[in-house]
């Protein structure tokens, strides 16, 4: 058995590294490597580079730059990468407001954009583009899954998100599937660090469940403050609220929180186990979902590049759309609007050998697409 596995993995690695691309491929990665959102960008970069390194192909170069979570900076970097670095593909942006500033103009200049995270509704429907692919999800997806989950046993939900495009997509997605009553729908400032006023409203609202979408430091602050408040209502959220990049800083206050995700470290498939082992070996920490998404984005690009030249946009796009990869998420394919169709799971924060992580509980959606694909004419 062991021998067979070794032979199989050898064959796999040979087939991956042995392929020479038709032409050298240059990828521009713009992501957040400084400021409060840096944890997300670093996982994005590291996940992406892991797949590139595993492929071991010399024809591929990746230039990485930090957008500091600022839209105007992201635009400048994109212009520079397209005009002077002559990249073929852009990728890596974490935040939807930055993506909206960069992706539409990049695809208008004939460059591919493969998103590793941000997936605003505006680019998934009527304004979809044959050069724009999303390897992560559509912004609404994980929130839709929590709305579906909340239908079981929650009658009055208090929902909260930051006031920016992905925050609005979040609550829209939640409400699309949630059938119960809403105790309140609250929008907070992006980057807000004190949630006392909102927690007091939760206490007084009579809600039996709380849904929060607060990525990065916002979620850390909220969960710590919520744990101290004495409010006993169960908290749930999309995977970002309890992702591996924030769990160590939240601490035990996160235990038991329910979330939705397309991947968790306990996934029982060969690709996931390999990814987890490789990532831990390379970076000595557990990967977050941002890392998985970026890893898959790189795998998608590599798979397409081994079949077609990126200079032939039509052929390269067709190959990308085939999504011929082994995703740690398990099943993965592209919808008509080039956003994923995938399974979405319910996860729970648990402590495993002293490390906080997410455990899979059940499948919420099978082969889930998004609500905007029908408006996309590709």
């Amino acid at each position: 058995m062991k021998k067979m596995l070794a032979a199989a993995s050898l064959a796999l690695s040979l087939s991956a590294s042995g392929l020479a691309f038709a032409e050298p491929l240059k990828i521009g990665m713009i992501t957040t490597l400084s400021g409060g959102g840096a944890g997300l960008g670093i996982d994005t970069r590291d996940g992406f580079m892991l797949a590139i390194k595993n492929a071991g192909n010399k024809d591929i170069t990746v230039v990485t730059e930090d957008d500091a979570q600022k839209p105007e900076l992201a635009v400048q970097i994109a212009d520079k990468m397209i005009q002077s670095d002559k990249v073929d593909i852009l990728t890596g942006i974490v935040w939807s407001n930055l993506l909206m500033a960069v992706a539409p103009s990049a695809v208008a200049q004939g460059k591919f954009y493969v998103s590793t995270n941000a997936a605003p509704a505006a680019l998934a429907g009527a304004n979809c583009n044959k050069l724009y692919f999303n390897a992560a999800y559509q912004n609404d997806n994980l929130h839709e899954a929590m709305g579906e989950y909340a239908n079981k046993g929650y009658k009055k939900m208090f929902i909260l998100a930051p006031n920016y495009p992905a925050g609005k997509d979040s609550l829209t997605g939640f409400k699309r599937y949630y059938k119960g009553q809403l105790a309140a729908e609250v929008y907070t400032q992006v980057g807000q660090t004190d949630y006392a006023a909102e927690i007091a409203q939760m206490r007084a609202s009579g809600a039996d469940g709380i849904f929060v979408f607060l990525p990065g430091g916002m979620g850390i602050a909220f969960m710590k403050q919520f744990a101290q408040s004495g409010v006993k209502i169960p908290v749930m959220g999309p995977g970002f609220s309890f992702s591996q990049d924030v769990l160590p800083a939240i601490g035990d206050a996160a235990l038991g929180a329910k979330a939705s995700g397309q991947w968790a470290p306990d996934f029982d498939n060969a690709a996931s186990k390999k990814f987890l082992a490789d990532f831990q070996k390379e970076y000595n920490r557990l990967p977050s979902i941002y890392a998985v998404q970026a890893y898959d984005a790189a795998q998608l690009i590599l798979a397409a590049a081994s079949k077609a030249s990126v200079k032939d946009a039509a052929a390269f796009g067709t190959e990308l759309k085939k999504a011929d990869i082994q995703s740690p998420r398990g099943k993965f394919k592209f919808n008509t609007n080039q956003h994923p169709i995938q399974d979405i799971y319910l996860t729970e924060v648990v402590k495993n050998n002293g490390v906080l992580t997410n455990k899979t509980v059940e499948k919420i959606f099978a082969d889930h697409g998004d609500a905007y694909a029908k408006d996309c004419k590709l």
Binding site: A184, R203, I250
Partner: protein, 307 residues
């Protein structure tokens, strides 16, 4: 809406105000005495939080961490004053803004280099965990009450220091006439270093206290710094009393705005938009208040007499 909820929100506003006061006091003191605009004040807040989180993780005690935050921030402040700030007193405000902005970048990247980009863990000490009952039947986190108490103590301590001690007398003299106290033989250079370190220690203390209920991460100081500037502009730049009242005003206005405006909007628009519009106006509210106050009193509520 019940009385209990209103009371809880009022306490939340007070707590935010007290925290802002700790930041604003140092900022306004430094401006009042030395005429210096210090944008790097938020970095000293971050230094306090990181020192507390690191030492608390080593020793297992939040209290030792808290002491470490005071020491680390004061030391960082003193070093920065000796090496950089000292050269800026005679320069234009624009030079000061540029130099202290550069300090923000150095502190941020230095902290990232030392601690990495992922947020650190810092928890509330066991003594202050949990919530207590308030009149009206609601509960309130003990730790937030502790922040209010600590802030009140610091305010009282600062008042005593400035009005009752020799150092305070020199600080007051420095505020009214820098050249004169120099001419009278007071070692003005040491006084400046001490005042700067004191302001830094207050910021570090605020960072450590707040770090336990927020996220200890690079760049955590800048949002607070903006609020602290709003506070001292409202209160009158250079006035400690103004900083206290300005901080409480901003804290209560911000909290009550976030709480009441969405409810108010419900009278005019459907719930989904009420949340969004109310939230958007609430985030502007303190700036609107600042604009109104400046329109009526252009130098803030309590402008120092000499300026």
């Amino acid at each position: 809406m019940t009385i209990a909820l209103a009371l809880e929100q009022l306490l939340n506003g007070l707590q935010l105000g007290v925290m802002l006061f700790l930041m604003a006091a140092g900022l306004t003191l430094i401006f009042g005495v030395m005429g210096l605009i210090n944008l790097a004040h938020g970095s000293l807040y971050m230094v306090g939080a990181f020192a507390c989180a690191t030492v608390a993780a080593w020793t297992g005690s939040f209290w030792i961490g808290l002491v470490a935050s005071l020491v680390a921030a004061a030391a960082a402040g003193a070093i920065v004053e000796l090496v950089v700030i000292r050269r800026l007193y005679d320069r234009d405000h624009l030079d000061q803004v540029l130099a202290t902005f550069a300090l923000i970048l150095m502190f941020s990247e230095g902290t990232r280099w030392l601690f990495g980009s992922f947020p650190l863990y810092l928890d509330i000490p066991p003594l202050l965990q949990g919530a207590v009952g308030l009149p009206g039947g609601t509960e309130y986190p003990v730790y937030r009450l502790a922040i209010i108490a600590a802030g009140a103590l610091v305010a009282f301590g600062l008042y005593m220091l400035i009005s009752r001690t020799r150092l305070g007398m020199r600080i007051r003299a420095g505020e009214s006439d820098r050249e004169m106290i120099g001419a009278l033989g007071v070692d003005i250079r040491t006084l400046y270093t001490v005042v700067f370190a004191l302001g830094a220690a207050l910021a570090g203390f605020a960072g450590a206290m707040v770090g336990a209920i927020q996220s200890v991460q690079v760049g955590m100081g800048e949002p607070v710094l903006i609020l602290a500037f709003v506070v001292i502009v409202i209160g009158g730049i250079g006035s400690i009393k103004g900083a206290l009242l300005g901080a409480l005003l901003v804290g209560v206005t911000d909290t009550m705005g976030r709480f009441l405006l969405p409810k108010l909007m419900l009278l005019f628009v459907p719930p989904a938009q009420a949340g969004m519009i109310g939230g958007a106006i609430a985030s502007m509210l303190i700036y609107i208040v600042m604009a109104v106050i400046l329109a009526v009193k252009p130098r803030g509520l309590f402008p120092p007499a000499h300026a």
